[in-house]
């Protein structure tokens, strides 16, 4: 064959150009901004220093980072807990019905993110559906204040990203050789131990992919906390948004953004590592027939 692996493949050129123009260049600019200062009247003072990064470590901002991380982690954990049984149930359904079940699992995702998030406002506010339902069921106390709480933000995040997690876990579970589960049963393990020792360890790459996905998208999210968290509530995403659009402090916003991006890259590398390990295992699982 004349194919030469060492020769750059021109077919990849559009994708590479796209990445350079819209990923690498903006990231490099942001990184650069992070080392400058805000000018007295907004704009940028080109005065190289590390002051912005020192400010990120300020307890005020570090606290917002930590709270965001906690919310993102909770959302990721809850999403996994809900998605795993769902994905598992779908893999157990007859093969002919699985595409339809997956379709329904992903269906909410095809409607607009804002509309889906506003729907939660309708559900959760003091005169909302949930409170009305509680009253119809005989609850006569104060209406519950569910909206504009951390719980509402987490609910919105979990709801919005759940389809991805179901898909990620489903894809590893459905690739699992069912004979591995039978082999475990055959060797004397009951269904529970088989799940804990074979199914779960072999689907961790999907769990990691789904979890990292939710965490990354949640920690940087600013729409959901703005709508469901109310004005009182701030996550890193809102902070970055504010620096760029209200406070006009681009350099500090850039520094916050860089810290966020670094965190995401580390997590994505962890997830890539899990996937690589899992793909080696799937290859090894089958006979060379």
């Amino acid at each position: 064959m004349s194919y030469n692996a060492a020769r750059p493949n021109l077919l990849a050129a559009p994708a590479v150009l796209w990445l350079v123009a819209f990923m690498i260049v903006p990231c490099a600019l942001i990184l650069l901004f992070a080392f400058f200062e805000r000018g007295v009247f907004g704009g940028i003072d080109y005065n190289f220093n590390f002051g912005n990064f020192a400010r990120v470590a300020d307890p005020l901002y570090a606290g917002i980072f930590l709270r965001s991380a906690r919310i993102a982690l909770t959302a990721a954990g809850l999403a996994i807990l809900i998605a795993y049984p769902a994905a598992y149930a779908i893999t157990r359904a007859p093969a002919s019905r699985q595409p339809i079940l997956l379709f329904f699992a992903v269906l909410p995702f095809w409607s607009n993110y804002l509309i889906r998030t506003y729907a939660w406002i309708v559900l959760l506010n003091r005169e909302g559906l949930v409170n009305n339902l509680l009253q119809a069921l005989g609850y006569h106390g104060e209406p519950l204040s569910m909206l504009y709480t951390e719980g509402a933000v987490i609910t919105g995040l979990v709801y919005n990203y759940l389809p991805f997690v179901i898909l990620a876990i489903y894809s590893t579970l459905s690739r699992l050789n069912p004979e591995l589960i039978e082999a475990s049963r055959d060797l004397g393990a009951g269904p529970v131990r088989t799940f804990l020792k074979v199914t779960l360890p072999l689907s961790l790459s999907g769990v990691a992919a789904g979890g990292v996905f939710v965490f990354i998208l949640s920690i940087g999210n600013f729409v959901t906390p703005a709508l469901l968290g109310g004005g009182r509530f701030q996550m890193v995403g809102n902070l970055v948004y504010d620096q760029f659009l209200s406070a006009n402090d681009w350099p500090f916003g850039a520094a916050l953004g860089m810290v966020l991006i670094t965190l995401m890259i580390v997590l994505l590398m962890f997830q890539a590592h899990m996937t690589a390990r899992a793909s080696g295992e799937t290859k090894g699982a089958n006979a060379d027939a």
Partner: protein, 364 residues
């Protein structure tokens, strides 16, 4: 031959049928398998061998019939409670565990103590020649090595009965022949009853104490390899095991079979009428003159020790194959007219009901 007929069977399969929708993958099978036996289930692909093993192991449930282990119905037992093990066709090694962990898995499930587990795992690793690979993951093993790990993982449990689904199917010919003898040795040493599934008749002949031939979910014949080779119960079995020639003719009421102007008395007379005579290549003699079944040589294949001469006749669909010692076949040439005579005692006659055609032969 095996002296097992007076023993009590270890495994009894009683009129077992398994239907997938309207199709019976296993169709009314009755079978006894005795302790310490090396038993082979032989049949073409799709004849229900895997389904039968999976029912014994507990992964499928018979539509009707019963399976008894040591006289006890095992229908209520889930796979993990059955004192038997299955070696999967895909080997099904746990990819996230090392070889040693794969072996230890089944013993941990029995809640044996750690020292006992280590001792038994080491012992089995040694006897299957895997000690050096103990810390590798399955992805780092060759096909032959995976096969040995799968076998060791089942053997270490010391089951009463080990079911092996085409254990050598994925190996190359040389390795397969070596592993056939190795399996026999391990079975003998461990004193475990083996039920092995294969679609390779040679493999079954080499390894099995007794074997069963299956076709489309039905059991055609059970017996020792010699019994089945010498006295196949129907043309399908005759054709499936070894090389068999078929000659079309008629059976007379006096017990003689004639094809063209050649007449003989086969070992087993059948009812008179159209009939099929089966004869192995080693029981046919060939001569350039004299009497017998007339034919023309269409091909001569040299096999080292002997030559197989293919003779086209008017009464057989495929050329009749004749085995002659290599130095005796020298006078024979392609195109020359010859006469064939059969060793009548070794011929098997079948009545017209079970005729085998050349096309069916090719499908196998």
């Amino acid at each position: 031959m095996t002296g097992s007929m007076n023993k009590k069977p270890l495994l009894t399969i009683k009129n077992v049928t398994k239907k997938f929708g309207p199709i019976a993958a296993v169709d009314g099978i009755d079978l006894d398998i005795y302790e310490n036996e090396f038993f082979a289930l032989l049949g073409p692909s799709g004849c229900g061998k895997t389904t039968l093993l999976r029912m014994i192991a507990g992964f499928e449930f018979p539509t009707s019939g019963a399976i008894l282990l040591s006289g006890q119905d095992i229908a209520p037992l889930p796979p993990e409670k059955r004192p038997l093990n299955l070696m999967f066709q895909s080997y099904a090694l746990f990819p996230h565990m090392t070889v040693r962990q794969n072996l230890a898995y089944g013993l941990e499930m029995e809640r044996l103590d750690g020292q006992e587990i280590r001792r038994r795992v080491d012992e089995t690793l040694a006897s299957t020649d895997l000690s050096e690979l103990a810390d590798r993951k399955p992805e780092q093993l060759s096909g032959g090595q995976k096969q040995r790990v799968a076998l060791a993982r089942a053997l270490v449990k010391k089951p009463k009965l080990l079911l092996l689904d085409e254990p050598l199917g994925a190996l190359d010919k040389k390795l397969r022949e070596r592993m056939q003898l190795e399996l026999k040795r391990l079975q003998h040493e461990a004193g475990i009853t083996f039920v092995i599934v294969t679609h390779d008749q040679e493999e079954a002949l080499v390894m099995a104490d007794r074997m069963a031939i299956l076709k489309s979910g039905r059991l055609l014949q059970v017996g020792s390899p010699e019994e089945i080779y010498e006295a196949p119960s129907d043309p399908f079995v005759a054709n499936f095991i070894g090389v068999m020639n078929f000659v079309k003719g008629t059976m007379d009421s006096d017990g003689s079979f004639s094809a063209g102007d050649y007449t003989l008395r086969p070992g087993n007379p059948v009812k008179s009428g159209p009939a099929l005579l089966a004869v192995r290549p080693e029981h046919v003699s060939i001569a350039t003159d004299g009497q017998g079944l007339a034919g023309v040589i269409s091909d001569i294949a040299y096999h080292g020790l002997d030559r197989v001469v293919h003779v086209r006749t008017a009464v057989s669909d495929a050329p009749v194959q004749v085995r002659v010692e290599a130095d005796k076949g020298r006078g024979l040439d392609i195109g020359s007219s010859v006469h064939l005579t059969f060793n009548a005692e070794k011929c098997r006659a079948f009545d017209a009901a079970g005729s085998v055609t050349a096309t069916e032969k090719e499908k196998i």
